[in-house]
């Protein structure tokens, strides 16, 4: 989740007191923020915010608000969150019916008496970017436009336009371009054009005089949509696919500007279709609902007795409005938060407000019996035999490549579990056997003191067309010996000893396998079931791995052997 940089001085002035970086680190617990560093020279604080459901905290204003409320009980007065439609409107956005199938929701507000300076501009852009990129899924679900209010004449129209019909000068360029040209040639169009792919008409915001504000979610117009230091009146607009997110983000941006002294004016969005919040939505809008929870519920989650006063006090300290009714609480989150899906979410805020370390830990005391799975026990048994036989255990990565698990082993194409979104060809397939992992060790260890005796027990994934997940995860064990006289008989002797102690009767069936020397390879069978293979590594395979020492090896399937083992000992 986002890492933001803010000025310590800015944070302090928004909170109203000064802090040491250590104090700040401590207070960041209130916002699930991780202190990433402070640069004394630039006064820059780096903070990572972990809660993906609280974009209101991804900015200096939001962090300051939460800390200020807790420390000083000052929660700000946001008078513009009046009831819908009753406020005086600063303007209107008229939505055309065809937007429903394109990018259905838009809202906005005005901010006046703002003192836009360079630092504020940087912070505004940072907030805009973090919210639209991360919370807005790279502008798909949310995009934000900020304009110089003085250049706009209301009402603003949100409508769909054919790609060739309208042209305007986008931010960052000098010349007029059509919407299609912007998608094709403008850097932002190239990045975000994907969102509008397949659409015959594109969203556009124009004012009453026909001046283009922007082409959401791609780019603002240069004439209207460029905010500069010195501006004092702004129009803020958000478009998106989900009305709740649009309203939430507008509320966050409104309180942020208000915290910096702006006067917020409501803008009414007038829809020809229903939004879930009526057809005329006055924004900012306190749209979130209150939740009811009982003191018992809170106590059960927290694990201790609490008083109504304590709980409501903690919640108020954290920004909630609370109504007490006997043993139950009606809590209303602030309008810039929409992360309360369940009363449990309120419980966490109670704990954060009080401080996690104020709760005394209690050891869970209910008796349970611990234990390992049978396959893990079986693998451990085999690990014991193998280390006892002088073998060094190896542990390897499972995500590797067909080059290693097939081609370098002398094998042709086979169905294995492969990655679709490959980042590197070296990590593009799951191993289906372990021997290649041991060969990898051999290839990397030609300088290491001989003899080499290595083994690995571990997971592999084998293709299983009929299975629900088209593959199965199995546990296998491979062992390899490498020294000037390494041969079949040595590997066989180890296998023989292992099977003796496992009390499993096995036999070898001569076979063909291109990893091994012809006539020195066998399939390991128990009854009619193939459970593994054994052989002397083929010199062509060794050379392919750049191994200059004879090797012999075997590999067995532990899931099958476990079944046989359990049947034979029960």
């Amino acid at each position: 989740m986002p890492t933001i940089s803010i000025k310590k001085k800015d944070l302090e002035s928004l909170i109203g007191s000064s802090f040491s970086p250590q104090d700040i680190e401590q207070h960041l617990q209130l916002v699930k923020g991780e202190f990433k560093g402070y640069d004394l020279k630039s006064d820059e604080l780096k903070i990572e915010l972990s809660d993906s459901n609280r974009p209101d905290l991804w900015c200096c204003e939001g962090i300051a608000r939460q800390i200020r409320g807790k420390l000083r009980g000052e929660w700000g007065d946001y008078p513009f969150f009046g009831s819908n439609n009753s406020n005086k409107k600063s303007g209107q956005i008229i939505i055309s019916a065809d937007m429903k199938g394109i990018r259905p929701y838009v809202g906005g507000f005005t901010a006046t008496g703002v003192n836009v300076d360079d630092e504020m501009l940087i912070q505004m852009i940072q907030t805009q970017e973090k919210i639209s990129e991360i919370f807005g899924s790279k502008r798909k679900r949310i995009s934000i436009g900020i304009y110089n209010l003085s250049r706009i004449s209301f009402p603003v129209h949100y409508k769909a336009a054919p790609p060739e019909e309208i042209s305007f000068t986008p931010l960052g360029l000098e010349e007029k371009m059509t919407l299609r040209e912007i998608i094709k040639d403008h850097p932002k169009g190239q990045v975000y054009g994907e969102i509008l792919k397949g659409m015959e008409r594109y969203p556009i915001l124009v004012d009453s005089r026909g001046a283009v504000l922007s082409f959401p979610p791609i780019i603002n117009s240069r004439e209207v949509g460029e905010v500069q230091a010195g501006d004092s009146a702004l129009f803020v607009e958000v478009t998106g696919l989900d009305i709740r997110l649009v309203l939430l983000v507008l509320n966050i941006l409104a309180v942020n500007l208000h915290d910096r002294g702006a006067g917020i004016g409501a803008v009414e969005a007038v829809y020809p279709y229903d939004t879930g919040f009526g057809r005329a939505v006055s924004i900012p809008c306190a749209f979130t609902k209150s939740l009811n929870l009982s003191l018992r519920d809170v106590e059960r989650v927290m694990g201790e007795r609490l008083s109504m006063d304590a709980v409501s006090g903690l919640l108020e300290d954290y920004g909630y409005r609370v109504k007490k009714e006997g043993e139950s609480l009606e809590v209303t989150p602030p309008p810039y938060r929409d992360d309360m899906m369940h009363p449990i979410d309120v419980c966490e805020d109670i704990a954060i407000s009080r401080g996690y370390n104020s709760f005394k830990p209690i050891m869970p005391s209910q008796m349970t019996v611990g234990g390992l799975s049978d396959i893990e026990l079986f693998a451990d048994l085999i690990r014991g035999y193998m280390t006892g036989s002088g073998f060094q255990e190896i542990i390897s990565n499972i995500l590797t490549s067909k080059e290693e698990i097939l081609y370098k082993m002398g094998l042709g194409e086979e169905k294995t579990v492969e990655v679709d979104n490959i980042m590197s060809i070296s990590y593009s397939a799951l191993r289906h056997w372990i021997l290649p992992s041991l060969m990898r060790v051999e290839a990397a260890s030609t300088e290491s003191f001989y003899p080499h005796k290595t083994f690995e027990t571990g997971e592999v994934a084998v293709s299983d067309e009929a299975g629900n997940l088209s593959s199965r995860t199995l546990m296998k064990c491979a062992a390899l010996v490498s020294h000037p006289a390494a041969n079949f008989s040595e590997a066989h002797a180890i296998l023989e000893a292992l099977m003796y102690y496992l009390q499993i009767e096995y036999r070898l069936m001569p076979g063909d396998h291109r990893s091994f020397i012809d006539g020195r390879m066998g399939w390991v069978y128990v009854g009619d079931e193939g459970v593994g293979l054994i052989g002397e590594m083929h010199p062509r395979v060794l050379t392919g791995w750049d191994i200059h020492m004879p090797c012999s090896a075997f590999e067995i399937e532990l899931d099958k052997l476990l079944k046989i083992y359990k049947a034979s000992t029960s």
């Binding site: 989740m1 209130l30 699930k32 972990s50 809660d51 991360i134 919370f135 899924s137 989900d242 989650v301 927290m302 694990g303 899906m341 369940h342 449990i344 419980c347 966490e348 704990a351 954060i352 370390n357 709760f359 830990p361 209690i362 869970p364 209910q366 008796m367 349970t368 611990g370 799975s373 893990e376 690990r383 036989s389 002088g390 060094q392 255990e393 190896i394 542990i395 390897s396 990655v419 979104n421 980042m423 590197s424 990590y427 799951l430 060790v441 051999e442 290839a443 990397a444 300088e447 290491s448 003191f449 003899p451 080499h452 994934a461 067309e465 629900n468 997940l469 088209s470 593959s471 995860t473």
Partner: protein, 525 residues
């Protein structure tokens, strides 16, 4: 020196040193060759053992002479077998003349298996000595046979040197020395019959300490009477009785061997496994390949929301989708996402995409294993853990491996609440990290509420995050059929393992370098 002290020295003597000491006589000087013959040791053995005796101050060097040792070169060895070219050619000429035939240079060249320069220089030598002369038409005649004896002497000397292998130049007669000086290979030249090597020969005598030790060694008896290696035969025929065993210098370094051994990182994981089992945790296992449903949807991570983007995942290539998703879990979970279902939640309020839920991927978090356990009639109360291999779509570097272990688990029971959650984490901090100082921080995980990060003070790393945990949201547990609170916990122990193994690159936890694996020492207790 007291007897005890000399005894210590004698006990440490190598059998070769003792053999040499037996060759010494008190108060007398001995040279290298005598030492070799008396002690019947090889030259190299003598060199080694005399070096030790000198270093210990038992013998000292009394003199040093440089000897010139004569041996045959390859050419000399050939002349030994086939005679010198001069003799061969002389005999050929004589034989041909006896057979009443003429002989000339080309005739000799045809008959003798010698190279032309050898032939011409040999004939030149015979001519110079006046033995042959070249008559008209190139015919070779014998002029005077008497100087041939000179060449016969050379041949005799070659045979004599060959028979003795090496000869000290000074042991030869004046005449022989002249011959050798004339025929030895000069520095930088390839030809030559004899080779003269200079050899430093020393003479030694016993020091005072040596004399004392020598006397005691003689008294103890010949090393031949000591047993070096006890054999089954000796045990059988009791021939070891009455004999002493050669004392070993047990302080010498032993030969290298490589024992069979657990992998150091696996050993660490084993110790974690053991601790978890001891705390009453039962192991759960899952597959390397999962679908998005169990990896994410069942954990209430919304399909189209930043909470889903906490990490990127690897998707699986053809077939891309699971055939089906188990009911009633699919229905319950999709309802929880859409409207909360019967969980008391308002849900994420979007239409659940079953196609996306079926998408196959490489397991990205161990919590997927926990989700399947919840859906599979877990014990209540119950504690479970898994050490699960997970995969993340990230650039592989010193802090990100292509696959890694996640140590995760769940605790189910009526007693589970925020304080027992903290209690469990405190137990982990104490048992797994040996931490005395701990701190709980608010955290965010999409599937738990409340969520906690456990920070501990590590002796080497300082304050570090040891793990994350929380109580599963009702939107996770209720759709999977679990109606008691459930702790979900995860421990991040790789950093601890890396410190203990003194490695700085996470990829080295799965190193392919056998030397590194063999030499890493661990200290987990």
């Amino acid at each position: 020196m007291a007897k005890g002290e000399t005894r210590e020295i004698i006990d440490s003597l190598h059998p070769l040193e003792i053999r040499l000491l037996f060759a010494f006589e008190a108060g007398k000087v001995i040279d290298d060759s005598l030492l070799i013959s008396r002690a019947s040791v090889e030259q190299a053995q003598k060199d080694m053992a005399i070096g030790w005796l000198l270093a210990k101050g038992i013998v000292e060097v009394t003199g040093e002479t440089v000897e010139r040792i004569v041996a045959l070169t390859e050419i000399g060895e050939r002349y030994r077998d086939q005679k010198t070219p001069e003799l061969r050619i002389y005999e050929t000429i004589r034989q041909t003349i006896r057979d009443n035939r003429d002989v000339n240079m080309s005739g000799i060249r045809e008959r003798e298996d010698l190279d032309p320069t050898e032939i011409s220089s040999a004939i030149g030598a015979l001519k110079d000595k006046g033995i042959v002369r070249i008559a008209q038409g190139g015919r070779i005649e014998i002029a005077d046979e008497s100087p041939v004896s000179e060449f016969e002497d050379i041949q005799t000397l070659i045979t004599a040197v060959a028979n003795r292998g090496e000869v000290n130049l000074s042991e030869l007669s004046q005449g022989e020395q002249v011959i050798i000086e004339g025929l030895h290979r000069k520095r930088g030249k390839t030809k030559g019959v004899f080779r003269i090597n200079e050899k430093v020969s020393r003479t030694y005598t016993l020091t005072d300490l040596g004399t004392q030790i020598h006397a005691e060694v003689l008294q103890r008896g010949k090393p031949a009477d000591e047993i070096s290696q006890l054999t089954p035969e000796m045990l059988k025929d009791a021939s070891w009785e009455g004999k002493s065993f050669r004392r070993y210098n047990i302080t010498l370094p032993p030969p290298r061997m490589t024992p069979g051994r657990k992998h150091p990182y696996k050993e660490f994981l084993d110790s974690v496994k053991d601790k978890l089992v001891a705390m009453g945790f039962e192991e759960m296992r899952g597959g390397l390949v999962e679908n998005e449903f169990w990896n994410m949807d069942a954990l209430y991570m919304p399909q189209f929301h930043p909470a889903r983007d906490i990490h990127d995942v690897y998707y699986v290539k053809g077939p891309e989708s699971a055939r089906e998703i188990e009911e009633p879990f699919l229905a319950n979970v999709s309802k929880a996402h859409y409207s909360g279902g019967d969980t008391g939640s308002r849900g994420w309020q979007y239409c659940f995409d079953v196609g996306k839920a079926k998408r196959l991927m490489l397991r990205s978090q161990g919590t997927a294993v926990s989700a399947r356990t919840l859906a599979n009639n877990p014990k209540i109360p119950g504690k479970y853990f898994s050490i699960a291999r997970c995969f993340r779509y990230e650039q592989v570097d010193a802090t990100h491996a292509q696959d890694f272990f996640q140590i995760e688990g769940i605790v189910l029971g009526e007693e589970i609440n925020f304080r027992t959650l903290l209690g469990l984490l405190e137990l982990f901090a104490r048992e797994v990290a040996k931490a005395k100082e701990i701190e709980f921080l608010p955290a965010y995980f999409p599937f738990t509420e409340p969520s906690v990060e456990l920070h501990v003070k590590h002796p080497k790393l300082g304050w570090m995050e040891l793990g994350g945990a929380g109580i599963f949201r009702p939107e996770v547990t209720i759709p999977l059929g679990v109606h008691v609170p459930v702790i979900a916990w995860g421990l991040g122990l790789d950093r601890m393992a890396m410190v203990a193994l003194d490695i700085h690159d996470i990829r080295d936890l799965f190193s392919a370098n056998l030397d590194m694996i063999r030499t890493k020492r661990t200290h987990w207790l």
